[in-house]
Subunit: 212 residues, 2 copies
């Protein structure tokens, strides 16, 4: 089928009819924002877009990949996290900070800032960015630590608070010397905070039901 | 001079001709964004607005108050911080978190979110929010600790990273259980981070010139 060149598109393999693809992505954004990553299914998204679920699988490969395409994620954590997690848990906090800065100090920053900008101005985009953080980043990092689901979620949300704050302070507000520090310097200063939230002694009463 | 009622205005004492007042505030926003809080002077702002500096003093009282009016700050830290600082340094981290949440869980939240929204979408607004954090909040809190200016700035920027992240995670992205935790629960979990950044052992090499 011939496809009219209606507008410039990013490079890279983008299979399928662009109208169908866009319909699937729009249905995906709605479903992920309304039901969360876990609650949305490819079947429901396909039905909403009026296509066969097999076509969605064929276009996007997996629910993770569909989600990343739907939110125009600047990077795929599944590509980046295995190396991080292979480093073990002792330096995980500092390594998380280093990886965050490697992504944000690189070409992904513009797309990352666009996501943050949308999230702050639009509740729907905020839900999608939250689902990205929780399902694609935090769950994978904290999921290696053998914690109960409730404790993993609580520790993950604390890690998120520090990492989002580094992004906002360094790239949006540009507070010095946070903005000019090197990745190693910030990993040294902020890494212990992330490490404590991941594996250290944190008073989680109230944040984790049943904590004494 | 009679003043036409062109639009609804917030209640409270707002002396002077609204056109003059607005001209001063516009000149103040430009000067504070371009030169920073320290670099901008009432004299230069008054000249840019075409009024006498004495009138700016008469309208706004002080450079701090002019700045807060210019950025439409949701709260005046000068009113809130003395009680915090009177509590001493041992619990300062937890008390900072508690005060942050008291402000953001109250009626100031809408104006606070508006400031964050502007800062993320507009570099000029980002500079003003940064100047607010640095000159009105961090300097006053960290300034009580007897640190060198460079160390105070470095520790302040780390405190900012955690506090901004709590605001973003709790109120914008609404990551659970960060979003639903009580102020005391968050003070217990996050307070030690802020305390470490303020008074604890932090590797500040590179962030503070001359640190061994």
């Amino acid at each position: 089928m011939s496809q009219p060149a209606r507008r410039a598109r990013p490079t890279g393999r983008r299979p399928g009819n662009p109208d169908t693809r866009e319909a699937v992505l729009a249905a995906a954004r709605t479903a992920f924002a309304e039901k969360g990553f876990d609650g949305a299914s490819i079947r429901v998204i396909a039905t909403a877009a009026g296509v066969d679920p097999a076509l969605v699988h064929h276009y996007f490969g997996s629910k993770d990949k569909l989600f990343l395409a739907a939110i125009e994620a600047p990077a795929d954590p599944a590509d980046l996290l295995p190396e991080l997690l292979a480093g073990g848990t002792a330096d995980l906090g500092a390594n998380v900070v280093r990886l965050l800065l490697r992504v944000w100090d690189g070409p992904a920053r513009a797309a990352g800032l666009a996501l943050v900008r949308s999230a702050v101005s639009n509740e729907w985009a905020a839900r999608l960015l939250r689902e990205f953080l929780v399902s694609q980043v935090l769950r994978r990092v904290v999921g290696t630590l053998g914690l109960s689901p409730a404790e993993a979620q609580a520790r993950g949300s604390l890690v998120a608070s520090q990492l989002i704050g580094v992004v906002m302070g360094r790239y949006v507000l540009q507070v010095e010397p946070l903005a000019s520090a090197s990745a190693d310097e910030l990993a040294a200063a902020v890494g212990p905070t992330v490490q404590r939230y991941l594996t250290g002694d944190v008073d989680l009463r109230g944040m984790v039901p049943g904590t004494p």
